[in-house]
Point group: C2
Chain length 518, copies 2
């Protein structure tokens, strides 16, 4: 905007820039930790290019060793006593989770393919125009999984593990259409969940909040005002929008870009009132519920045992769950210092632990790690950090907004629709990696170009949606599933095969008997 000689003023509600990214320095400023958005990966060209532009560096999250896998199920014993049965395993990062038997694996691959195939039918920019948008938006993602998966193990995996890792809520809380869109616009199932060549491949050295801090510095003194929550947007005067912050400051603006989550639109009193669809959408955009728990250790002893620090803990069983953390990742610094593991506590796990003191949460998480690896050393952590985003007034949760049934199809089209002089950014309005830092940046750029077009600094309306050039430092690589995914039969195919075998068997038997009789 500056390059186009436009005056920009940023009003930030919080006492810091960064939004849902937050880098905290620990141990007398000796090291840092990202308590909010943190990961970047290939195809996230907006954030990668910005990292280059700001001369920041990324480093690879350790994904070279095994992933620890734990599956616990409970059994009901006599007298309503419950006992848990555990199966511990480890697998290579480029392999599928070791579900147990071939039928689970077939079911898993079938669902992965289905999620991506359905996603291909959903336009990134306008999911409400998908051929089956209305039908898919009337079902929860859980209903889709329950209808599509044949085995309980795989149903549990997608409903409780995948959804909770990906958006920090339960599968019955989000619409099938919205969540399929969400996965699709991240590049599909594999890209979304992977570390290497996926959304969690890298972290930014010295923390992700630097992005906002450096941008803020670039804007210069006085261009970013902190502690200025906007509570009123008044467009009754035809000549400008009048923006008022909670301390009573008033600002006249030719344009306003609201870069906030949809539900935070309700924090602002609008004059005239928000259009109906936007108001109804804002009421139907709850944030995910997540806390990050980081445990620090003296040594990264798990690496000596062949673990990267990535654990997949699937202890959901018939409505109960034993472990708060579902996924963890290595959080050791790239120079090997400050060995740590970061765990994601979402949805049900978050709910159960929300009122526990930090130290107790640390103990419970450490126990999970000990169970998944069999390494009792995990219990002796040196320090625990927890960040719970649900209590934060101007976030209301993390990572992103979700939508329940009947929302995206009915009101989704209003999401990016400008309202008078007000334009909309924020990661939720992105059409690629929405919900991630990359989406926040691309949405901001798109909203800025909307204004540039209105100001005739852009001549071509198509330029508003200009594609970001590919990152040079982390060039986009196509994501490929293991080749055997290609050949995994679907259930229908298996059933057909079974029928054919049965028929062939019967025929053989009949022919044999006939011959025998003769």
């Amino acid at each position: 905007m500056r390059a186009h000689q436009l005056d920009v003023l940023v009003l930030e509600a919080r006492d810091r820039v960064g939004g849902r990214t937050l880098t905290k320095t620990l141990g007398d400023g000796k090291f840092w930790v990202d308590l909010g958005g943190s990961y970047v990966g290939p195809t996230q060209d907006c954030v990668l290019n910005l990292i280059d532009e700001l001369k920041l560096e990324t480093y690879l999250v350790d994904d070279t060793k095994d992933i620890g896998y734990l599956k616990s199920s409970f059994k009901l014993r006599q007298g309503n006593q419950v006992s848990w049965v555990e199966r511990r395993a480890r697998f290579k990062p480029d392999k599928d989770p070791p579900f147990g038997n071939i039928f689970h694996w077939i079911d898993y691959v079938h669902l992965v393919k289905l999620i991506d195939a359905y996603g291909a039918q959903i336009p990134s920019e306008s999911p409400w125009l998908a051929p089956k948008a209305e039908e898919w938006d009337s079902k929860s993602f859980k209903q889709f999984v329950d209808e599509s998966a044949w085995t309980r193990r795989v149903r549990d995996y997608f409903n409780h593990i995948f959804v909770t890792i990906d958006i920090c809520c339960d599968a019955n809380e989000v619409s099938m259409l919205w969540f399929l869109w969400y996965v699709k616009q991240c590049g599909g199932y594999g890209r979304a969940i992977s570390t290497t060549n996926g959304g969690q491949e890298r972290k930014i050295l010295n923390g992700s909040q630097q992005l906002s801090e450096r941008l803020s510095q670039l804007l210069g003194e006085g261009a970013v005002l902190l502690n200025k929550p906007v509570f009123k947007l008044d467009q009754t005067d035809k000549a400008f929008a009048l923006v008022t912050t909670t301390d009573g400051s008033k600002f006249k603006a030719k344009y306003v870009i609201c870069a906030i989550s949809p539900h935070l639109l309700l924090k602002i009193h609008h004059e005239p009132a928000l259009p109906r669809e936007k108001n109804l959408l804002a009421q139907r955009s709850p944030m995910g519920q997540v806390a990050k728990v980081i445990l620090y250790y003296k040594r990264a002893f798990w690496k000596e045992h062949g673990f990267s620090g990535c654990f997949l803990i699937d202890s959901y069983s018939r409505g109960r769950s034993l472990d708060p953390v579902i996924l963890s990742l290595d959080e050791t610094k790239p120079d090997g210092s400050h060995p740590a593991i970061i765990g994601f506590v979402g949805a049900r796990g978050w709910f159960e632990m929300r009122n526990l003191p930090e130290s107790e949460v640390g103990c419970r998480v450490a126990e999970s790690y000990a169970r998944v690896t069999g390494l009792r050393e995990f219990l002796n952590f040196e320090r625990v950090e927890r960040a719970d985003w649900t209590g934060e007034q101007y976030s209301g949760g993390c990572y992103t907004s979700t939508h329940p049934v009947n929302t995206l199809f009915k009101y989704g089209a209003s999401l990016r629709e400008p309202f008078g002089r007000i334009h909309y950014a924020g990661t939720e309005t992105a059409t690629k990696w929405s919900g991630y830092m990359d989406g926040a940046i691309s949405a901001g750029k798109r909203a800025a170009r909307e204004l540039l077009y209105l100001e005739q600094r852009l001549t071509n309306a198509d330029d508003v949606w200009r594609e970001e050039p590919a990152s040079k430092s982390v060039p986009p690589r196509p994501f490929e599933y293991p080749v055997w995914h290609e050949y995994a039969p679907s259930w229908k195919c298996l059933l057909g095969l079974a029928h054919s075998l049965l028929a062939a068997g019967l025929l053989t038997f009949v022919v044999y008997r006939r011959l025998a009789i003769r």
Copy 2:
């Protein structure tokens, strides 16, 4: 409060008192119409007593004649052409809707009984403590209906007609626990939907907004300030709460009562921030979507044909719907003047008609009435009034807040929990007739008594939840279902009977054959 020598100041966001009640005078002030909350009935003792106290009068909604019933279903013809098949009927108000055949009726009665029986297991004050609260809150009401009803007709009736009439949204949008609670705290299914001896028995002569207007007058000059939306509640000073309105006025208060819908809590910037549970609840409390459409006629000609003006239009069929109005009621004034019919356009109907001009909406609604009665005179209405509550910033929809799955069980307990000096009222916090005017009044009284108790004007904590004395002018009468409901068999019973008959038949056959052989 005044009686207890406490100073009260009411800050009203709108330019009028009344909240979700609104009485408009039409035709040069000659007559009035309620565009918002309007109906009262037996057991709503709070509102009935207030009506008496304020020397207002109620009158009966005409329920003496037949209810018109229309069932349309569509058939797919060759070449994807759709044609609608209609069945028109009429029935007495004390009878069940004429679903068509005995199996539908059995299914209907079974579900009515189930809704009330499950409701009996849910405590009105704390639905989250119901024995199956967690399980019921994880399902949508639609899932409950689809699992419990055996016939498509009855599934459609409960999912699309009953839910839309009762809470103006779709059955898949609300949790089973929440909606069963909602029906229960209105006194059960029959009480909630009935006109005579139900929630729609009466209206207030000259309009319901008078309640708030008279109360406001009683408080006296200066005690109610209009156009004062509160945007900030600051409790950082230990001695008082600082309340700031959008025009910059500041008020110090010893206590604050927030009498707003849960989602409107987000309109207020809190210092310190709202507790997590309240914030998460506010994000998960969307309002219903409804418009009221009133058609005025020269004569109440429908009464000459034996109709009260109540029509039940069930034109939902396989995802499509022909008629915007699902339920209508007679809106003729008690002296017979201004013949009119009021139609409720909710959820899907609202969505489809939201952008049509008023006159076109009137025509479509009139056509529905003509089809349900066969009276073409309905097309010649004199005037149409439409009130759409979704566009209203400080309502965001009507009649009340709803809750999707996983909300009431997890966060419901925070609904009425005081936060520092802030206490909570509003119809959504009521435990009887929540969602109605009665609930708004009882919740206000309860919140006021919370403060009186803290101020030691009430000595007994139990008095906070003091029960309202029964209304003398409209004494509560028990609600009774038709006697034959008692004897309607359930599906299980019918299946058992069929099995028994089959077994008996087989036995007879075998015995007969044996005897015959001898």
